[in-house]
Structure formats: C-alpha cells, structure tokens
C-alpha cells in the first residue's frame, strides 16, 4: 500500500446523460484501509460515479482520482492496484473459470495464483464450466476471486450482493472481512444490503438524485440519529434544534427522526420549550437512517 495516498477521491464530480444530470458536484474521498459504502436508491447515480472512478467513463465535470492519479487518463496503470466486482458479473460467458483465471493471470504484474485457487475451491465453483452457465452466486464468487487475485490495494464493488441469496451474501461478506483482516485492503462499495454492510463499513456516503447528501463515519452517523416517539399535545413540540429529518403523526402521537442527537440533546430540547413527558428515544439501524434520509418527505442531512 502506498503510504498516505488517498486510494479514491472524487472532486466536484459531474456526470450527465444528455440533458439529465446523473451526478452533480459530488466530492468525497475513500481513506486508506477504510470500508466506504456508497448508498443511494436505484438511479441515484452510484454506478455512474463508480464508472468514473474506475476510468470507464470520462466525467462531464470535476475529477475522479485513484491513488492521486486521474482515473480516466491513467486507468490502465491504475487497474494494477484496483480490484473490481461489477454490479452484473460481466466476464465473457463462453469462457470457463479456468480460462478466465489464466487470462487474468497474464495481465497482472503480481498474481496470487494459489490464493485464487484456494478461494475458488472454498467457494466450490466448478472450474471447467463456462462462466455463463454458473449460478448468480457462483458468478459473483468468481468475480470476487478474480478481483482479489492480484492483491489489490483498493477493491471496488458495485452492489456485489444484488440478486444473491442469504448464503451467498454471507460468503461474500466473510471473504471481504477476511481480506480486510489479512491485508487491510481499502474497500469502496455500493450496496442495497444495508444490514449486511452495517457490520463492516467504517464510513457511509449517501447520494440522492445525483447529489451527495451525507458522507460520514458510520459510528458517528448512528450516534447522532435517533427515533423519538411521544404522545400528541395541543401544542406541537419544536424539533428544529434536534435536526428533524422525518416527522410523522398518527392518532396516538408523533414519530420523529432527528439527526442531531447527543447526550445533551434532551436538555437543549427542554430549554427550547419543546420537551414532552417521557419521550421514547430509540437508536436507529443504518437501514432506518437511510430510509429516513432518502425515502421520507422531509429531506436533507442536517
């Protein structure tokens, strides 16, 4: 791994398709050794961002950098240091796994042949079956094995669990955790499997309609988000000071998600005249935070 060089970074990135902006002015960086998850709904611009970061698409504005170099212009060289697992397993369907392995082995300066063999054995992937005939899970496993074959410094996974069953997802995450434990590889991934990623991600970024609405350490994120439930009163308690993200009302009371919770939050709320008797305060999962951030009517990170 090359010292303090940032493995992946986007600066004011912009991607357009005709008149439509798929990614708008997005900036963030993936720090060395981190597992950085990029979250967003379908069509939010995640894949466009990944393609720019992998040098497969020229940004319409801004820059995408890998290890400090422009991903578009230096892609060929940079791919020696990057492993990629695409959203859809895209290996040539007519090739057997053996041939795919030997093809990839010819392309990299350092190729961990035994490691690849070991992974494929562990995954129990048939070696002489054409890639196109493998199951979805097996294809993902082959892609992961190929992506890790040259011991990449950065592993980029574009929704690798899409369409995988629970077992396949578990195997994939175990492999990732193992890789992280062994080599400290930096991981940048997009996923819809928020529960699965919650256990391994260090940092989370969320894009909505092409714009970055959040980029934060996962622990900090989970620390400041809370769900509040309290009985309805004639005068609505004020939630502004707590950074209300979503507020819903029902017959029994109010259900609110706030984004500025901390130890002193309850006190500030009381001083602001918004306190209610015995509010129920619940910690939130990543999935709940994500839903509140991009699925609710009230929007915007606070």
């Amino acid at each position: 791994m090359s010292g303090t060089t940032i493995p992946a970074k986007v600066e004011r990135l912009e991607v357009r398709y005709g008149g439509m902006r798929a990614v708008a002015d997005v900036s963030f960086e993936v720090r060395p050794g981190a597992v950085h998850a990029l979250l967003g709904r379908n069509g939010a611009g995640k894949s466009s961002l990944i393609r720019c970061l992998l040098g497969q698409r020229r940004p319409d504005g801004g820059r995408a950098l890998l290890f400090g170099e422009d991903a578009w212009t230096s892609r060929t060289r940079l791919m020696q240091r990057v492993g990629v697992v695409p959203e859809e397993p895209d290996a040539p369907p007519e090739s057997t796994v053996s041939r795919l392995v030997s093809f990839c082995a010819r392309l990299y300066r350092s190729w961990d042949g035994p490691g690849v063999e070991e992974r494929l054995r562990r995954f129990a992937v048939p070696r002489e079956v054409p890639f196109g005939r493998l199951s979805k899970g097996q294809k993902g496993q082959v892609m992961l094995a190929l992506a890790l074959g040259h011991r990449p410094e950065l592993l980029v996974l574009d929704d690798p669990t899409l369409g995988l069953d629970v077992v396949a997802r578990k195997v994939l995450y175990e492999e990732l955790v193992g890789e992280l434990a062994d080599r400290g590889t930096t991981v940048f991934l997009t996923t819809h499997d928020l529960a699965g990623i919650e256990g391994i991600a260090d940092r989370v970024a969320i894009v909505r309609d092409g714009e970055l609405v959040l980029d934060e350490e996962l622990e900090a994120l989970k620390g400041r988000f809370r769900r509040l439930r309290f009985a309805a009163r004639e005068q609505e308690p004020r939630l502004d000071a707590l950074g209300a993200v979503a507020v819903s009302r029902s017959g029994w009371g109010v259900d609110a998600v706030v984004s500025r919770w901390d130890d002193g939050a309850a006190g500030r709320w009381c001083q602001g005249g918004g306190a209610v008797a015995e509010p129920v305060v619940e910690a939130m999962s990543l999935e709940e935070i994500f839903t509140a951030m991009v699925g609710g009517e009230t929007g915007g990170a606070q």
């Binding site: 497969q56 060929t76 040539p92």
Partner: protein, 650 residues
Amino acid sequence: MRGMLAVASRELVERRNAFVAAAVAAVLPLLAPILSGTHGGNATELRAVAALTVAVALAAALAMAYGAATISGELEERRLGFFFARPLSGLAIWGGKFLAGVVMVWVAPAIVLLPTWLASPSSEQWNSIGDAWLLLVIAPAAVFLLALAQAAGVAIRARSPWLVVDVVMLVVVTLLVRSMALRLLDEGATEAWTWTLAGLVIAVPLAVIVAGAVQVVQGRTDLYRGHRVLSLTLWSSLLAVSLVGQSFSWWVVHPTIADLRGVESVHPAPQGSWFALAGPARGRGGYVPGFLLDVDHGRSVKLQGSFRWELPVTFSADGRHAAWLVRSEARGSGVRFDLMTIDLRDERPRPRSTLIGFTASIRTLTLSPDGRRLAAVENGTLSVSDAYSGDLLAAVRLPADRVSTNRMWFAGDGTLRFPQFEPSAADRKVGAVVITEFDVASGRLRDTGRIAPAGEYEALFLRLDPRSNRILRRVQRPREGGPTLHDATTGALLADLVAPEEGWRGFPAFLADGGIAVAETREGRARLRVFTSEGAPLWSIDLGAGYRAFPAGERAPGRLLVVVRESEDQLTSGSRSVLVDLDTRNVEPLPSRLIPAGWMPLAHWWWDGEAAPGSVATRTFITADRGLVALDPVTGASRVVVAGGPPAQE
C-alpha cells in the same frame, strides 16, 4: 502489446469453433466433383472454384458475424467492463479483438483452401486467380468488412440520435465522392480518378478501422458515447478525405496555362491571335487539359475534357468564332460528343453549350466564315446547323462509297464545297477525288468535278484556297505524280508542279499573293521552288540539308516559313525552321529549333483554312522541349507562352 496479444489469444480460443467449421467446409470442394460427376481437368477446376467460393463466403460470414457481435454486442450486454477493469488499454482491448477477427477471417478461408490446393497445387486455376486475387482483394476486403460490421453494430445497437447523423453523413460523403468522380471522369482525368479511387480504397477502410479503435479507446464501456465518438471520428475523417478529394479533383481540372508542361496539340486560328492548345499539366498525370488562348492579350478559356490524342476544335475563317466537341462518355450508350461554341469577340468569352451532339463517327466539322453555321459529316450524313440555336438547317446523306477528306469550306453562306475520295472498284486504296457542292437552302447535293486519278487515299494531301477557288493536290509517292494545281469546282488540272528532275518529293502551299511554293527534298537536300498563281515556275533556292521540307505559312506577306526535317526521328527536336524572303530570296534560319505552331503535323484535327500572313499560326513556335513561344515579327523578341516540359514521345 502483451495485453493485446492476451486479448487476441483469448478471443481465438473462445471462437475456435470457427476453425472447426472451416475444416468441415474444406471437405465440400473435394466432394464437389464427385457429387456433380465431373472428371479430369474439369474436376480440378471445379474443386478450385468451389474452394474459392466457400472460402470467400466463409471469410465474409465470419467478418460480418464476428464484427457485429464483438465489442458492440459486449457493450450492449455490458460485458466490455470486464476488460476495462483490467490493466488493459482501450487500444489493447480493441486491437486484441480486431486482431483475433483478422486472424479468423484470414486463417479460416486458408483452412478451406488448403486441402484443395494440396490435391492439385499446380492447377492453372490457382495460378490465374488463386494467389494474387485471394491475397490482394479478399484479404483486405475481409478486414474492411470486419471493421465495417463492428462500426455498424455499434451504430445500430446504440439506438442513439447519432444514427441520423450517420445516415445523413453517408449520403453527404457519397455525394461528395460521386461529384469528384464525375468531375474527373467528365474531364477525362482518368489517371487522377484512379489515384483518387486508390486513395479512397485506402482511406475509407482506414477511417472505419481507426473510428472503431477510437470508439473503444474513448467511448470505453459507454455504448451511447462510443457511438458518438465513432460517428464523429468516422465522418470527420471521411469528410476530410472527401474534401481533400474534392479539392484535389477541382485542382486537377482547373489548371491554368502556367501549369502546362509543354504542349501536345496546337491548333491556331487561321486569322487573329486565338489559339487552341492542349498539353500535360503539372501533377495531373495523364490529364491533358485544353485551352483557347489569345496569345496577344493573354486571355484564355479552359476547354472541358482531356485532349491527349485529339484537339477537336475548329475556328471560323476569320478566327473570331470557335466550336469544339466535349466528350461525354459513360452517360448511357457509348461515347458522345456535345458541341460547344464561343464568340471570341467578347471581352470575356464564355463557352456556350449547344443542343448539337455527335457520336464518335464524326469526321468533319467546319464553321461558316461568320461562325453562325456549322457543317458536320457524321455516319455518312452531312448536316448544317445553326451553331448557336442548334437548329438543324439542312441534312443530306452522302454517297456511301466515298470517304471524307476532312476538307470542307463554305463557298458563301449558302453553299458548302468539299472534296471526297472515291475508291476505284478494282483497288480501294486508290481512286479519284470528287468535288461536291451542297446547297443549304435546297438541301441538294451536286458533284461539280473530279480529280482523277487522285492517287492513293492514305497518301493524299490537299490544300485549298477558297478565295481563288483552287486546290493543290499532293501524293506521297513520286510515281503517282508530284504536286498538281486544280480548279476547286471542276477539279480541272491547271498546272503540274512536279520537279523536272527525278526523285524530288514536295509539299505545296498557296502564298498570300496567289503564288505557289513547293518545298522539296531529295537525297538529303532541301529546296524551295516558287510558282506563279497559274503554276508557272519562277525560281528555286537551296535550303541546305533536309529529309523533308514543308511550307508553314507566311510570317508577313512575302516572308515564308519553311520547316526542314533533318531526320525521321523527332518532329520538333529533329527539325529546323527557316524564313525565306520571297522578294530577296534570302534564307534566314530561326533560332534554336523553333517550329511554327501552324505546321500541319502539329496543328490538326480539322482544317479551318490556310493560315493568313501574320496570323498567330506564323508568330508562335514550338520549342524542342514542347514549349510554346511567341516571336515578335518586327523585333524578333521571344515570349514564353507555355513553358516546356520533359521530352515528349513522338
């Protein structure tokens, strides 16, 4: 390169079935004679033809199938990202896949041909069409087809608005190529067209191949963007090629007099300062542009067409009108000629097309003295038309057994007079000259006289003097008689101009004062004899060494130009000119082998009349290197009209 080879070998391994199919197909030609019951040499030929057919079909099918599926298919199915996620450059990815395609479309047909070739390697069929044809045509064509299929696959699968651009640009480029082709072919610049075609044959496939590469390098995994890059690269390069071709073709067919490297044909007007000339132009290959040139004032008019072997221009007797034929072949059935006319009195003369057209059978073309009427002999029919409106004024069928002599003149506006050769029944090489008159108003044809015997047709040479209504006849061989003077209406012999001594061969000409000059040669000596208008000998003068001698017009009244050929070899470089003062009998050599432009072996297609004294025909000269210079008759100063070129083959 390593990455490209890795991609190529992967593609070939995955598509090895193509070679298996080729091996199976290779059996078919071997079975063909058995299935058709053919034996012996015919069986060998059948096998060769069948093998070539199968090989070509397989090459085409593989090129199209592989080209259309690879890259564009992978982009559509989002599978090209697999390669772009590896340390492979876009060029290596494209190059590897394209290289694999090239190997496939070359090797698979070779597999088909191999067994048949091994069965009969010495077959003439192989020698005649196999080797060169296969390598030079099929192999590059298959590569082009491969690249074309790849480009078409991207354009069709992308389903982007750029497809409209593709269609529009295809039409635009096709029209540009067509227009450059027509421009060059209409002008007869066939060699330039061959160069252009060769350029296109190289440039178009190259543009398609490069565009395919750029599409992958720049478009990468984005099919839509790839199509845009492909279209921009392909059409901008093809548009550039087309525009270069347009510029080149325009440049080829728009030479100026200054571009000429000597002259091949010259045709001075019998009076005035206009001149028709044609010669090779710098950098234009075999294209020989023609011009009408006003030697005194520098005005020029470019003639349409190439005039390598012919300069079909005729001037009116006063030199103020001209008409010429423009070749218009390949536009229907056979060669056609369209008649163009021009009024040279205009400040800026402009060619005018007429509605008059001719076939390749046209034999004679003559303008009336005022340039308004045009007489032509074509396919045995004499026609007289209005040269400007194209209206046919009269036409008549000429006697079938007579041959045009290329001499015809308007004896007044309403009458045409012309001699024709009438072969004898016993020997068609020899015969008589029949003088015929055609009355335009009545459309009646009337024989007015004959010159008999006229001698051998191939050797017959006639000079006319419409003013005094006389004909000078000359045949080449001494035994057929020397020059004779005849009445131009009746053909009656007026005088025999033959030398009193044996062996002299002479060429006669009328002089401005009505007299006659005969330039003669015998045994390497040349002389000039002068006669009265009735043909009575006056005097003769020695012109020095000479193989042949020819009167070539009077530079001024009484100052006759004579060309003396010193050998049979070169017309210009082997000849010299002298100026004979008919009053003082002084013979003055002209400098540095200048040959009068009006001298008949150089100036011809049609006869417009004898050059008037002091006309451009007697003031302009061909140089040894085929340049054209004008000599001032008073000061003798020379001015280059057309620069000379490399020595011409005569």
